[in-house]
Symmetry: C2
Subunit: 403 residues, 2 copies
């Protein structure tokens, strides 16, 4: 069938379809020819192809019958067991299989939670700026999102408290608060322990569910590990989300959520495509149980730590006065605020013309801010390219300042 055929189904689309809208093929390989600071893609060279091949061989030899069969709808028991062991060891989280759902990446985890809680028109609270996937998810759900700013110490508590009080006064309830306490995407800020405690306290007072997105927990290069909101709460309000995408392989599409058992059962009910790949799950479980995951995380920390430092130095060397940026303690991202008079709407296309891909700030907000901001990812490009790319970017910013 040719692309020219009109679509006789369009007039029959559901309200959900109209809210979600169309999407094209969007292929990450399009970034490969550029110096790309665009996305949170893992370093291509670090992807453990030999170790994954070996884990596959072992997993299929030992348990191929079940790795290649239909699986449990809330997640493969092997992977659940390995995840629980990892969370206990690294995050200090005590949980059982009844607290876990394995999802197709963390993005599906968020989609399921939104499906679980949001009717069109409902109020949700979110850090802003925040991960563009969350912006898209809340908008597609028809949520009325109230933005809570993020600053040096993380989520702004005063605004949160004020927003919760305003809601109470007007007889409304927020369906959840979404935040990324560690090395926030896109700002790189980490929410302090004091604020974490206060957030949990406010959540308990207002019976406010919390989505704690901790995709980058394992990739800390400085400072001390802080307790998760999940461990600070004892009321079952926190849903703690993570992923194997950044520490094993994004292409396996393995994310997870830890939450109270009823929430897990409800998310499983909404997960209408059945269990997440038992094949990928068995491979990931073997990758974890063999100790390869721990080694790999160590290597990644060294790799990304060095890339972060290289990018910070390059910014220092190349950016004109009036440009500011954050110094993340972990994760993949630096958040840059451009000098007055420079707009990312001109900078981004000009930069792409010169072979450097950046992420415009406005896609991280719900209500049209961020024209003077950009997110730079230091995960995908290697260090020579980071230096080269930031130099090109600095020159373009200077150029825009003088015109």
């Amino acid at each position: 069938m040719a692309d020219t055929v009109t679509n006789p189904l369009a007039e029959l689309y559901s309200e959900r379809a109209r809210r979600f809208g169309e999407r094209g093929m969007s292929n990450p390989r399009d970034s490969a020819a550029l110096i790309s600071f665009f996305a949170g893609f893992p370093d291509p060279g670090s992807l453990p192809r030999n170790d994954v091949a070996e884990a596959t061989r072992v997993a299929l030899e030992r348990d191929g019958e079940w790795a290649l069969q239909y699986g449990a709808s809330s997640g493969d028991p092997e992977l659940v067991r390995e995840l629980l062991a990892k969370l206990k060891r690294d995050q200090g989280i005590q949980a059982g299989a009844e607290n876990v759902i394995i999802t197709n990446g963390a993005s599906q985890a968020l989609a399921l939670i939104v499906d679980m809680l949001v009717n069109p028109g409902d109020v949700v609270l979110s850090e802003a700026p925040t991960w563009m996937g969350a912006v898209r998810a809340f908008d597609a759900a028809g949520a009325e999102t109230r933005e809570i700013p993020v600053n040096e110490g993380g989520l702004d508590i005063d605004t949160l408290e004020q927003e919760l009080n305003t809601l109470s006064e007007t007889g409304r309830r927020a369906k959840f608060l979404y935040l990324i306490p560690n090395f926030q995407n896109p700002t790189g800020f980490t929410t302090t322990l004091e604020r974490r405690k206060k957030i949990v306290q406010l959540a308990q007072t207002h019976n406010l569910p919390i989505i704690e997105d901790d995709a980058y927990f394992d990739l800390r290069y400085a400072g001390d590990t802080l307790p998760t909101l999940y461990t600070l709460d004892d009321s079952g309000l926190v849903m703690y989300m993570g992923t194997f995408s950044k520490i094993m392989a994004a292409g396996m599409r393995l994310g997870w959520t830890i939450a109270n058992p009823a929430v897990i059962r409800q998310m499983t009910g909404l997960k209408s495509e059945g269990g997440t790949s038992p094949f990928a799950s068995h491979v990931a479980a073997e990758f974890a149980s063999s100790g390869t995951l721990t080694e790999h995380v160590h290597e990644l920390r060294t790799l990304y730590h060095s890339r972060r430092d290289t990018m910070l130095k390059a910014l220092e060397a190349s950016m004109p006065a009036g440009t500011t940026w954050t110094t993340p303690e972990g994760g993949f991202f630096i958040w840059v605020t451009l000098p007055d008079g420079v707009s990312v709407r001109e900078l981004a296309p000009a930069s792409k013309d010169k072979g450097v891909e950046i992420c415009p700030g406005f896609i991280f907000y719900f209500h049209g801010k961020g024209d003077n901001q950009i997110r730079l990812s230091y995960s995908f490009a290697d260090e020579p390219n980071i230096q080269k790319g930031i130099k090109i970017l600095g020159d373009l910013v200077k150029e825009q300042l003088t015109t």
Copy 2:
């Protein structure tokens, strides 16, 4: 967090969550200790663990950088290419990459189509009995499903026509017709060519989208291959769904839909968890391009053909007069109608007590029929167990007849 904590989120659940309901861990391994005729699980021994390990090794060596990276949202280009080649060769379908979406099993394909078209209260048309996954999906969407019976020649055309006319007269429109033209699940019936043509004609007259579910196309043991409704239609109304679950490995969770490009873009927009596993997709693409898939399908045809015959013979030998069953030309299922006075509500638990698992007929209907029917799958149990299990079942039916 203990299971005893009450769930503070329950009062905040969305309408969608309330419609979908909770789901537990449901693990297919629970069936492994029984003689199971319950589910459409591939034969465990046939799952190609060595070939998948080898395909993984080759795929990661050649293209590991992309197999382990984030992928294109509508599907991995390698797998799309192999699927298109297979569909052209076997189904005679001419399509391009713009016509394809790769999904997490065929179940996600159906979920996305339902999301795309159905608002609560909408009318949909479906064969009945039909796949329990479809029953669940349409019910969860809040659809008003009108049942179209299936008989020897497939979907009952007269009822379809009548239903469409009734809808027209009352000023209503159906959002789609769902059918499984080949070796229908659960009945095993195949829709004749004449009826296929008539269905397409009716669809075009009424602008009725068609979901053509062809999960078992490759597993035909008798009779001639018939053209798909997708190839019989030239108006863009047919969405043609399939899966690698039955012919490669269910555990890879790789399904697909072929449809007009606008529908593909809309389904991609609704696929909020991002691209289906590039890892599994690369492995599957290598499995297909190496020729292993074709060989494997040949072996499976021989295996399941023989199991079908064994089960048919065992039914002949063990079932009392008054029991009838279908003779499928392919697929995994035989549909049994029990003699008067025998209820599956007693037979199923009694049978499980004796170690034999069967699928009660009522789960395949939308409006409470099927108490005197069962679906038997001959895919999972081996031939000695098929003979043993059917003998046990026959004895139980006889027992129930005399009490």
